[in-house]
């Protein structure tokens, strides 16, 4: 276990979750290696989002163990998960609509703050210096995601594609070790998808962030991911390299067959 632990950032062991008796996921186990882009695919209602919610601590699994960065957990609140270095985006954008792009990105940094609210309110000591340093990091994220023109715009007023990008920026601002993306390209046109996959690849390559993403567009998935896990009706039916998965007959029948 130790030598896999070294290479695997995230390990799910026999995870099960059900709402009011309805099973969302049953006995899912897989591993995400450090530094890879892992795609989680499957038909609607396959339990992908539930799984992401479990990993990010929004839901608590009834069974199973999650091992992140060699620390095992059964139950953990969203906050603790964030502290451990997991950030995510949501299927239907969960931005803070009443705030500017910059402020949204800054909230992504909240765990890096050290000064107390009193220091900030009275503008004492380190608060100011900290504001500077946090702002600079936020600005770097904004530059990385090429959002400068919209820095001061209220996110509520931005077009869908941009909001998706801002949400990714907010997650990125936390300097996560594991980044969970729930359908980052849903409802985007070809160019936007192209651009978004570019961003995801850059995040993975330039910043060395491990990425676990849910995506429906098989083309995109096969292009950008090193590793694909296929779910169907809450069960894992495929796990391996894109090529291997593409050949897996069960996957073809259950997923590709139904969708293409």
């Amino acid at each position: 276990m130790t030598q896999t632990a070294a290479t695997h950032l995230l390990e799910l062991d026999n995870i099960s979750l059900s709402f009011k008796g309805v099973k969302a996921v049953t006995g899912i186990s897989f591993r995400v290696a450090a530094g890879e882009i892992c795609a989680l695919i499957g038909p609607n209602g396959a339990g992908k989002s539930s799984l992401l919610n479990i990993i990010s601590g929004v839901y608590q699994p009834q069974e199973g163990r999650i091992r992140f960065d060699n620390r095992e957990r059964r139950r953990m609140r969203a906050h603790d998960v964030a502290v451990r270095g997991v950030a995510r985006t949501f299927q239907n954008i969960a931005l803070f609509k009443g705030m500017s792009v910059l402020d949204n990105v800054l909230t992504g940094r909240n765990l890096k703050r050290r000064s107390t609210w009193i220091e900030q309110a009275l503008r004492l000591g380190r608060a100011g210096r900290e504001d500077d340093s946090q702002r600079e990091v936020a600005e770097r994220v904004i530059a990385f995601m090429q959002l400068q023109p919209w820095r001061d715009a209220l996110v509520g007023t931005l077009p869908y594609g941009l909001q998706k990008r801002v949400e990714l920026a907010r997650a990125l601002a936390a300097e996560p070790r594991l980044l969970l993306l729930d359908e980052p390209m849903a409802g985007m046109n070809a160019d936007e998808k192209q651009q978004m996959s570019r961003f995801i690849i850059d995040i993975n390559r330039e910043l060395g962030t491990t990425v676990l993403l849910i995506e429906h567009d098989i083309g995109v998935v096969m292009n950008i991911s090193d590793h694909v896990v296929v779910l169907d009706y809450g069960r894992k039916i495929g796990d391996g390299s894109p090529e291997a998965v593409r050949k897996n007959p069960e996957v073809i029948s259950a997923y590709l067959g139904t969708r293409h």
Partner: protein, 293 residues
């Protein structure tokens, strides 16, 4: 011991009144997801209209019908002026709107009928009745019976009629309801009218008790804890909640009052409701939604 039961029964009967007001809430909340703070104002307005008509020599039933018509008008107006423009806004916004609405209705009621207290006699004598060695007010019993029949009527309305079907459809899933061609607006108007009707009945019973006056609109403040305990979406919950509140506040007044001080009944229900919330956030009968993200 008998004293205890008298207090208890008295409380329960008072609770019936709360329940009546709460039912109005539940109807509107189910149908339009609006937490209608103006329910109290509607009680006041309907009762005030009714008595004022009586005082002007209008026969009982006619006055009743006219008041009902007035409530229908209010329902139509509310749907046009408040609900429609605010459709799919946040519940909090809608709540604050009904807060404004209650001001309008109260102001209007008093501007129209004046602010003085009107006595109301429904012709039910209020001399106590001896039942199993306990003294019970006839009026309270009458009130209880009225409430019971009202509830029966409502449950028939909602379980047996097409309207009821539509209402439940809307309550479950407004979009789907729209899809199958249910006219939301119409349902809303009907529901607000029915709520107005319930309010009228409640108003008359209260009014006959305490006189028809501004304080009627304050029963809304009692209805809130009732709803918390019974759940926002369940009529039977509203009734049971009402009974619990009524009974407990009376008992508390009688037994706790001497210890921590009298007059606790205007905050005790809230304390109780809070306790409930911490134990059972969705109330006794309300269903809790799973948060989707």
């Amino acid at each position: 011991m008998e004293f205890f039961f008298e207090v208890l029964i008295g409380g329960l009967l008072a609770g019936v009144m709360y329940a009546l007001v709460a039912i109005g809430f539940v109807l509107i909340y189910k149908a339009s997801g609006v937490f209608n703070f103006a329910q109290g104002a509607m009680v006041l307005f309907s009762a005030l209209t009714f008595v004022s008509l009586l005082e002007r020599g209008v026969p009982f039933w006619l006055a009743f019908l006219i008041s009902l018509a007035a409530m229908l008008l209010i329902a139509v107006a509310v749907e046009r002026v408040v609900l429609r423009p605010l459709v799919n806004r946040s519940p909090i916004t809608l709540f604050m709107a009904t807060l404004g609405l209650s001001y309008v209705i109260e102001g209007f009621a008093q501007a129209l009928w004046g602010a003085q207290v009107h006595g109301l006699d429904l012709g039910i004598s209020d001399e106590p009745l001896e039942l199993g060695g306990m003294l019970l007010s006839q009026f309270d019993i009458f009130a209880a019976l009225t409430a019971a029949s009202l509830v029966a009527l409502l449950s028939w309305l909602f379980n047996k009629t097409r309207l009821g079907l539509a209402l439940r459809a809307v309550a479950d899933d407004p979009l789907a309801a729209l899809a199958v061609g249910i006219r939301l607006q119409r349902v809303w108007v009907v529901v607000w009218t029915v709520a107005g009707f319930v309010g009228l009945v409640a108003g008359l019973l209260w009014g006959a008790r305490l006189g028809v006056q501004f304080s009627l609109s304050l029963v809304v403040l009692k209805a809130l804890p009732v709803l918390i305990i019974g759940g926002f979406t369940s009529i039977s919950g509203a009734i049971i909640g009402g009974l619990i509140i009524g009974a407990s506040e009376k008992l508390a007044e009688v037994y706790l009052g001497p210890i921590i001080g009298s007059g606790i009944e205007n905050w005790f229900p809230y304390g109780l409701a809070l306790l409930f919330l911490l134990v059972r956030p969705a109330g006794l009968f309300g269903e809790r939604a799973i948060e989707r993200v």
